[in-house]
């Protein structure tokens, strides 16, 4: 039962760290309720991005280090929505609607490249991400957008690195249906959106195609012999991941209040990858529980450590501890997985 819940040594360590941080925050008179409210927002803010890794992980392609590709599609959707000056929730919806077809096209191209390098997808994806970002930098510099709020104030050409969303749809989801409970602000609309995304992914992996994808992830040779169209399944997985990633950055941007262009997407894949590994997914099959648990643990340590560090006058210490523990856990997860795989083969 314990294994089912996904709570093992790494999760336990980070939980202990979290609880001790909470205790410390309590002693330092930092408002726990606001911390928890923040933690909930950050869970969803990053959760969809983390969720976007699942289709590729389950299809055996590995962690989507090429997340910048998906993020670019999302950013294009966001920029289009801002360019047409659509505000409020419709603005957010428009951004998502613009982003999905773009993500499908980009995802297809991305998938075709990944299909050429079977077995080395993760490192290839990393470099696809790295090389895609400069390409997009050029695009952002010459993009024919017309809303002056997005362009350089001087000269009026090329996109700004940071576009404020305050006049458009900043925090629209965060405040939707949010209510107060014991002093904690519960962003119900945001949580609901995340739940719907999770549900969609969950349902997909219960369908015939989803089951085939998991089988492909477990044993490719078997899938081939069973007459499944492997390259089609892999392309589908990558497209799904890219679409989810694009939706993810839309959620992230509206929550953050800014669209960040140029080099900002470059490193976005790593926190997401860390979160899913912290959640305990280092094997073949990744569950929604890994996503939620991992994102929550990873992001909550982040939320709590900031204020504590400020209060203790040594701002570096909490950050150092946080990086040590989260990165240590990622390393542990990878090492532990290697060991478990060996044991599994030895036993069979």
């Amino acid at each position: 039962m314990k294994r089912r819940l996904g709570i093992q040594l790494p999760q336990l360590v980070i939980l202990v760290f979290l609880v001790s941080m909470l205790g410390l925050a309590f002693r330092l008179d930092i408002s726990l309720t606001s911390l928890l409210g923040d933690a909930l927002v950050r869970l969803v803010m990053n959760g969809v991005l983390v969720l976007s890794l699942v289709p590729m992980l389950n299809a055996g392609i590995g962690i989507n280090y090429g997340l910048p590709v998906a993020i670019t599609a999302g950013l294009l959707g966001l920029c289009l929505a801002v360019n047409f000056k659509i505000t409020g929730l419709p603005g957010f919806a428009a951004a998502v609607l613009f982003a999905v077809p773009l993500a499908t096209i980009l995802g297809y191209g991305y998938a075709r490249i990944l299909n050429c390098v079977q077995g080395r997808e993760e490192i290839t994806a990393t470099f696809i991400g790295f090389s895609f970002v400069p390409l997009m930098n050029y695009f952002w510099a010459v993009a024919p957008f017309s809303n002056p709020a997005m362009l350089w104030p001087i000269g009026g050409k090329g996109m700004r690195p940071t576009i404020g969303l305050r006049d458009y749809f900043s925090k629209e989801l965060n405040t939707l249906w949010s209510f107060h409970l014991f002093g904690i602000t519960v962003p119900a609309g945001l949580l609901l959106f995340f739940a719907l995304c999770c549900l969609a992914v969950g349902i997909f992996f219960k369908t015939r195609t989803g089951v085939a994808m998991i089988a492909l992830g477990e044993n490719e040779a078997f899938a081939k012999l069973s007459g499944m169209n492997i390259s089609r399944l892999r392309i589908l997985a990558v497209i799904l991941s890219t679409i989810l990633g694009a939706v993810g950055i839309c959620v992230y941007a509206q929550s953050y209040g800014f669209i960040e262009l140029y080099d900002a997407p470059q490193m976005m894949a790593f926190p997401a990858a860390s979160a899913i590994l912290v959640g305990g997914s280092a094997g073949k099959k990744t569950t929604l529980l890994h996503v939620i648990l991992g994102t929550f643990l990873f992001q909550t340590t982040y939320v709590i450590s900031g204020p504590i560090a400020n209060a203790l006058m040594v701002p570096e210490v909490a950050e150092i501890f946080r990086m040590m523990i989260t990165n240590g856990i990622i390393l542990y997860a990878l090492v532990h997985e290697g060991k478990r795989t060996r044991e599994k083969y030895a036993a069979s």
């Binding site: 349902i203 219960k206 369908t207 015939r208 195609t209 089951v211 085939a212 089988a215 477990e218 044993n219 040779a221 078997f222 081939k224 012999l225 069973s226 007459g227 499944m228 169209n229 073949k284 099959k285 044991e343 599994k344 030895a346 036993a347 069979s348």
Partner: protein, 521 residues
Amino acid sequence: MLQLKNISKRFGRHFALHSVNLKVERGEIHGIAGINGSGKSTLLNILFGNPLIAETGGYGGEIILQGKSRRIKSPQSAIAMGFGMVHQEPAVVHEMTVAENITITREPVFPHSEKYFGRDFAPIDNRKSHKKAQEALGMFGVALAPRCLAGQLPLNMRQFIEIAREISRDDLKVLLLDEPTAVLNGSDSALLLRTLKNLARKGVTILYVSHRLDEFFALCDNLTVLRNGAVSGHFQRDGFSRKAITKCMIGGSVILSRKKANLTCRETILSLQKFSVSMPGESIEDLDLDIQKGEILGITSLSGHGKMAVGPGIMGLYPVLGKMLIKGRQAERHDTAAMIGKGLFMLPEDRRQLGLLQDHGVAENIVFSAMHCAHRFLRRFPCLPLHFPDKKQINRYALECVAAFAISCTGIAQKVRELSGGNQQKVCLAKAMTMEPEILIVNEPTRGIDLGAKERILDMFIAMNTTKGTTLVIASGELDELRRICDRIAVLYKGRLFAILAPDTAESVFIQAMSGEMAKV
């Protein structure tokens, strides 16, 4: 020479071995018999210091080698004491050449270089290394190019590489063999047995684990039988009796399956014309073969002569040349999905890697192909184009299969990884039966399966053929089994059809045909 005293091993609460005592003299070939799960492999793993043993809490009892009590902690320590091991599934490095695999850790270096650079950094003399490898392989008359990459060779050749690696060691005192013939066919096994006898004459002690009785009769001086982790009998050479040993192994006797051959000529269902398959290590060239509707066709050959390539070639897993007519018509596409659509299905020889989803349950494995290729066991989501597996229907069907095939498992949700080889093969068969193929191609159906389960699986083939009229193509090196159940047996030699023989043809004729020594029929 080697004495084991009260060896015990526990995995959790379960005793895999329970106070096993054994005494082996120098130059003796000692057989260890037992069905799957009787503890044979565990015993060898202890002797070879497999890390799995240490990780799961070590072993109990005492191992005495040449009068000294020894504790074996790791493979390194076992090797240092003079143990060598040949695994059931060859442990060779696929990325290295044949010669590199054989001389690994004992590579010959250029003269004097060792003095200057030390053992670790002395440059390897490839010519000497190739010569050494060829000598080792020559001991059992296998010709392999030393430069060939091991990963490109078929399973049995990789097994020969592993054996050559062990027997070419100068410091070898005790050789452990864990069902080395599981991946070899009859004539390859004979080669191996001859080599082992020579080795024993040179003073090497051999512990030979198997469940093939014939090999014990041909090879062993003494025999110990294990059942449920304990010694259930000792036999000496002059006291060997098939009946007594079998009884000791399974506590009962086995009835051999047999089918009467039917040689009436029927319509051709699948015709191969000038069919070539390029499968590494096991290719076919210009094969002309007609498969008749409703027959059981056996395909046999020595290893590397093409019997294993027929199925994968037909299913489109490897590049092919030539014509393939299904019911007189050439298929438009030649890939696995199209072939499955035409009513063909194949069970590969490598069950673990290709035949099953190890981490999925029994039920999921049984219905998998039917669900994905034939769109069965599905339920449509109302108003959306989404198809979900129909759990109820699947479970009902899987329960029927488990009963019909006598698959012993804790339940239909048990992972197939945890099943024994025989039960895994039954799951494969159930999967194939669910597809209701017109033609079923099976590669090495009984490899690595113990006596009792073997016969039950052969019975299932016969039943499938007689009741459902399924055409079966069975590629196997187990001539004895083919002769019992087939209608016709095709013998391949160097990738071409050499002869088609009736199953009641004398065994010597088969052997001649397989080695290409008979006048062509």
